[in-house]
Amino acid sequence: MSRRIVIDRVTRIEGHAKISIQLDDRGRVQSAKFHVTEFRGFEKFCEGRPFQEMPGLMSRVCGICPVSHVLASSKAGDMLLGIEIPAAAEKQRRLVNYAQILQSHALSFFHLSSPDLLLGMDAPASRRNLFGLIDQHRDFLRRGIRLRQFGQQVIELVGGKRIHPGWSGPGGVHLRFSTEQRDEILRWIPEGHESISIALERLKRLLDSFRAEVEHMGNFPSLFLATVNAEGGLEYYEGVIRIVDGSGNVIASDLEPARYFTYLGEASEEYSYMKSPFYQPFGYPQGHYRVGPLARLNVAKFAGTARADRELREFKQRAGGTVCESFHYHLARLIEMQHCVERIEELMTDPELFGENVQARASLNRREGIGSCEAPRGTLFHRYFVDQDGLMKKAELLIATAQNHQAMNLAVEQTARHFLKPLSADASPDEGVLNRIEAAIRCYDPCLSCSTHALGQMPLMVEMIGPGGAVLRRICRES
C-alpha cells in the first residue's frame, strides 16, 4: 500500500507551505512536492490605482524584502514615464538594495539556518533554534543580529523607515543623501566586515561535517539565471540577464530584462499556488532554472570588489566551475553579504551619491512599464499596464522564490530519497530526516508571503496518507 507523508507547515521559512512525500507500497520515496498554500492576491488589489502609488503598495508584498519590490516597481514607473533617472537617485537605490540584501541574508543565515549548521541536523527540535545558540554561540548570534541591524539602519537612514521605505518612486527618489547619513553608515563598516569574515571562516570549517548534506540535499545540474553588468560581473540593480547551465556553458547572454516575458514562461501546477517559471527555448519542465545567491555567483565572472572576488574564486574552485549543490546557497549568501558591505563602503566616497538632483519629472509616456532587479532571493520582475490616465489595468509579478520552485521540488525529492529509509506502515520518519528535508528548502530561503502577520505558533504537521486519501498517521511537533 502506498503512503504519502505531508510536512505541513515548513518551519523557519518565510510564509506558508507544506511538503508531501509519496511513498510506494514498500515504504520507499516515490516522489516529493513542495506546496505553497498561501494565496496573496496583491496583483488584483492594485488594479485601478495610480501607477505612482505602486512602489508603496508593492512594498507591502513582503516584510523581509520590501526594498526589492519598491525598486522593481519604481523602475517600472521610470519606464512608464519614459525617462532616465538622475545619477544620485540611482546610487541611492543601489545603496538601499545592498543594505536590503545584507539584512535579508543575515536573517536567513544567522537566524534561520545557523541552528542547523551549528547545532547539527540531528539536534532535538526543541533546542535547534536561536535560543539553542545562546549558550555556546552567543557572540555569533549577537553579530548576526547586529548585521541585520546594520542593513536595516541603512534602509531607515536613506529610505525613511525600515520595513516599507517609500522614498523611491517613478522618476527617482524623494530625498538627498547627506554627509550625516554617510558618517552614520561608515560607523558600521568595520564591524560588518569582521562579522562576515568570522561567519565565512566558521561555515567553511563546518562544511566537512556536512558532506552528506552537501552531496544529497539538492545537488543536481540545472540552469542558473541572474543579472550581470556589461562586463559580466555581479550586478543587482541594472544590467542584462545571463543564463548558464550546470556545466558552466553560457546558454543565453545579453537578454533584456524588459523582455523577460519573451524568454521566460510560467507553468501552473495543481498542487501549488506558486507558478513554475521556465526558460522557454528549453520548454517545461526541462527549462527550470535557479536564481538567487548561488545562481548569481555561478553566472557572474567576477564580483568587482576585493574581498568578495577572493571568496568568489575559491567558491568556483570548490566545484571546478559551476556549483550545483544547493547547500552552498549558504556560502554564496555570505559572499554576497561581504560584497554588499564593500559596495556600501565604496558608495560612501562616491560624489554622485550626494548629488542635488534626485528626481526626474515627466508625464505618462508609455502604457506598459517593466522593472527588474536582483532581490535577495533572485531576479525580480514587475510588469505594469496602465490606461491613458495612468491607472493600473494589470500588474504581473515574477518573484524570485517562484523561479526556484522546481529546484526546491527536486531538492526535497533528492533529500527524501537519500535520507528517508523505507518505512513500515506504523513507523514515523526520524526527526533529523524531516529536518533535513526542511533544510533543503531553507537553502533557498523562500519568501512565500510575509504580508500577513498574526500571533500564534504554527506547528509542523506530518501526515502519512494512504492511496485512498485517508490520513494513516499524523505527527505534530513544535519547532
Binding site: G63, H111, L130, R142, R148, S451, H453, L455
Partner: protein, 146 residues
C-alpha cells in the same frame, strides 16, 4: 520613564493593521511608538534602553482585547519570520541587557483580506485596547515615581 509601544501588522491586510490604529488613539498617542509589519530579531537591540516595552498585535484567535505580562520563557515560534514578542524580549535580555518590563496587548482581528480599513469589530476592540493601554501606562508611570 521610557516606554516604547511597538505596533505590529500590515494595514493593507485590513484588521492585521489594527495595532497601528491603537497607537494613534487618545491614551497611547503621547508615547513613543514604532510601527512594524512584523517582528524581526534586531528589534531585540532596539528595545534594550527602555524601562518598559508594550507590543500591540492583531490576534485572529482572541475573543477580547487584553494586555498580558510577557513571561521570560524561551518560547520560540515555529516560523521564525514571525518572531514572537516573548522571543524578542528574551533575546534582548540575554544579548543586549534589557532590564525593563514587557507586555503584550492582543487585539481581536476578523478580516485579514487584502484591503484597507478596519472591520467594525476591530474598531471597537481598538478603542477598548487604547483605554486599557492608558490605564497600564498610568500605572507604570506612578509605580516609576514611587
Amino acid at each position: 520613564m521610557r516606554v516604547l509601544l511597538i505596533s505590529v501588522g500590515n494595514h493593507l491586510r485590513r484588521d492585521d493593521g489594527v495595532a497601528h490604529a491603537v497607537t494613534q488613539l487618545p491614551g497611547a498617542a503621547d508615547f513613543e511608538s514604532r510601527a512594524l509589519i512584523q517582528l524581526t530579531p534586531e528589534v531585540a537591540e532596539d528595545i534594550a534602553g527602555y524601562d518598559a516595552v508594550i507590543f500591540l498585535d492583531a490576534d485572529a484567535r482572541a475573543a477580547d482585547s487584553n494586555i498580558e505580562t510577557l513571561d521570560e520563557s524561551r518560547s520560540v515560534s515555529a516560523l521564525t519570520h514571525v518572531s514572537s514578542p516573548a522571543e524578542i524580549v528574551e533575546l534582548s535580555r540575554t544579548l543586549f541587557g534589557f532590564a525593563g518590563q514587557a507586555f503584550l496587548c492582543r487585539i481581536p482581528a476578523d478580516d485579514l483580506s487584502c484591503g484597507e480599513g478596519l472591520s467594525f469589530r476591530a474598531r471597537e476592540h481598538a478603542a477598548r485596547a487604547a483605554r486599557e493601554l492608558a490605564i497600564l501606562l498610568r500605572d507604570l508611570r506612578s509605580a516609576h515615581r514611587i
